[in-house]
Amino acid sequence: MSIPQQLARVRTAGCTAGTGSAAGSAPLTEDTFVARPLAERAELALREGPLTYCLATGLVIRWAHPAVFHVGPAGTMGDDAALRVCGTLPRVPGARGATVLVAAQGPGGPVLFPVDPARTSVETGANLAGEPRDTLHLSDYQVPAELARPVTPELLSEFELRAALSRAALMAGAAQRCVQLTVAHTATRIQFGRPLGHFQAVKQEEARLIEESALVGAAVEAAGEALERLGAEARFEVAAAKAQASASVAEIARIAHQLHGAIGFTELSELRLATTRLWSWRDEDGDEAYWSARLGRAALTQRPEQLWSLLTGAN
């Protein structure tokens, strides 16, 4: 399946998440779109069972078997690829029931390795939508040589792009859900003898909601095509998609709730399933400030005339 096709599925999962429908309970996006394809690319043979991922920073990673007499320009080398890892993997999606594929900077460069949560100290937690976000504490965690895979910086970069884009696609789905629920509500809720949707003030806000949701969808779709075509080179497109998805959340959730009235603020409405996810997901896999800063830096490191080339992706 192509990346755009996979992303369309991710988006559907984001739209139905939490509703108990089949699409909403499909295998984790973290597994199918991010961890598994990258593990396969790195030729990591992993045991059966669901996968999740963590792009880790701040871990202390050392060679398990340092080669004392082989000190190269990058420092000590290992006799083999085996690693010892100390540190924390914060707020990993669904880590309590999955193997975590970790991407990090190892002693010899970028490295991928799996972490079995059973061999760590698991601090269970949740995001605002109640989705499991578990923090794993690794204390001298041993990664055997056959599971520690050195990878190229490009692969690491693609890892991050896939993570961000799948999150953005989930957000596009949740935004679409906000539109569906809001339109259904304003079409049926009668006040002053007519449906809410007949009030001009309501129409104005509803249109803005529809637009903002369409904007996120278009950015995600285009970035998916770019990722399919360019791989790790699609960094501008993916950054723009996640930056915009995260930046649009405040407006989307605000309008959806405002037009739902009090019921949207309660468990009586399904709206919370979408909006609490949007409020969580905008922070996950890089928030809008993180990705916008990258776009801004990219713009400022080129000649000003190149700004347009950057936006169009054609030089």
């Binding site: 079409a187 249109a207 278009a218 950015a219 801004g296 990219a298 713009a299 054609a314």
Partner: protein, 382 residues
């Protein structure tokens, strides 16, 4: 947008960029905001036409390029991003040409389309009136039958370029009906015909682009009725997707963003400046993708008026927000009297034009009604 990545399209884009850098060197392309409204430069329009970049979507038999809307979009987005002076041929290329192609007689097509594609024939649009702004169906300009043609009487308002263009497409009432949307017709009016009087309406900057366009019994021959008598409303609304969704609905202030990047690139930008700049880039990227989606739909003959309304509201709001955000990124007192092309001068120009972005091409508040109605309809059916 895979069509946009085709070899031909990428080559076309490079060609336009080479042309633009030559034109920059000769001083015609100056990175001015809102250049499609105020940059009137007939020689530049003709140089574009020589390269086949006017009337690109017209069939070859009428002097066009026989290319799709996407190819046209590539060229015009390059021109607008560069702030090139394209207003002379703008309406002819965007609106009059497709309108004549779709509704015109064979004689009209042969007469006007090749001339438009050569950059020799410029058009205005005579739709709005004093009492017919957003509510276009209430136009009061009348066309009465006379021997061999029609006599037009009334006053059009906000007619851009009527003082320098060659023709205008005028919407007028040809008969009375209970349903106001019936009995309207479109005419091609020679702007130099007897009875045409053009009176300037100056913008708040003092610039002259808009006019009152008085028709004091202007005689229009039968051959200049555009389309069918009484079909004016359908013809006009069918054109709106062209008018509403193009790059001019989100790129009008892009040259100001280039200007602020130029200012910042000499200094060490702060983290906050980088983030704010990046956020604008993200939104521009996203709106552009939506707009390209409309061009692709038009290429495939799919209806796109709702999508177009959506792009117009998002894009034109962004044009204005960009101005205020750029000012926040690098505060400076806007100064219309500063040296042309400097950051304070460009900021002043873009700022003074902000009221127009969300008004022209259909007031955004009205467009939002179209969007809501269509989506409600779709959701109820699903």
């Amino acid at each position: 947008m895979t069509a946009l990545q085709s070899v031909q399209t990428l080559e076309l884009r490079r060609e336009v960029r080479r042309f633009l850098s030559e034109e920059r060197a000769r001083g015609t392309v100056l990175g001015r905001p809102d250049s499609w409204l105020t940059g009137w430069h007939p020689e530049f329009s003709r140089r574009l036409a020589e390269r086949g970049w006017v009337g690109m979507a017209l069939p070859k038999e009428y002097g066009g390029g026989g290319l799709g809307f996407l190819a046209r979009v590539v060229v015009i987005e390059e021109l607008l991003a560069a702030g090139a002076p394209v207003s002379a041929h703008w309406v002819a290329d965007r609106q009059a040409a497709p309108s004549i192609l779709n509704h015109g007689s064979e004689e009209q097509k042969k007469r006007f389309l090749p001339a438009i594609a050569e950059g020799r024939c410029f058009f205005s649009i005579g739709m709005s009136e004093e009492q017919a702004g957003s509510d276009l169906a209430s136009v009061q300009t009348r066309a009465e039958r006379v021997a061999g043609g029609w006599r037009l009487t009334g006053t059009k308002k906000w007619t851009g370029g009527a003082h320098c263009n060659d023709y205008a497409i005028v919407l007028a009432r040809t008969s009375e009906h209970e349903d106001r949307h019936q009995g309207l017709s479109q005419f091609i009016v020679d702007l130099r015909a007897p009875g045409v009087r053009v009176e300037p309406i100056r913008l708040l900057t003092g610039e002259h682009t808009f006019n009152y366009f008085h028709l004091d019994g202007v005689e229009v021959p039968d051959g200049m009725l555009l389309g069918k008598e009484g079909d004016g409303w359908a013809q006009v609304t069918g054109e709106l997707a062209f008018e509403r969704s193009g790059p001019e609905r989100y790129l009008s202030t892009f040259p100001l963003l280039v200007a602020v990047v130029r200012e910042l690139s000499d200094k060490a930008a702060t983290a906050d400046q980088q983030v704010r700049l990046g956020a604008l880039m993200a939104r521009l990227y996203a709106v552009r993708q939506l707009s390209l989606g409309v061009a692709a739909a038009l290429d495939e003959g799919r209806p796109a008026d709702v999508q177009a309304a959506l792009v117009k509201d998002l894009g034109t709001r962004l044009e204005g927000e960009l101005v205020h955000e750029v000012r926040r990124i690098l505060p400076v007192a806007a100064d219309a009297g500063a040296t042309p092309g400097t950051y304070p001068e460009l900021l002043a120009l873009a700022l003074l034009h902000t009221p127009a972005y969300t008004l022209r091409g259909g007031t955004n508040e009205i467009l939002r009604g179209i969007i809501t109605r269509a989506v409600e309809h779709k959701e109820q059916q699903s």
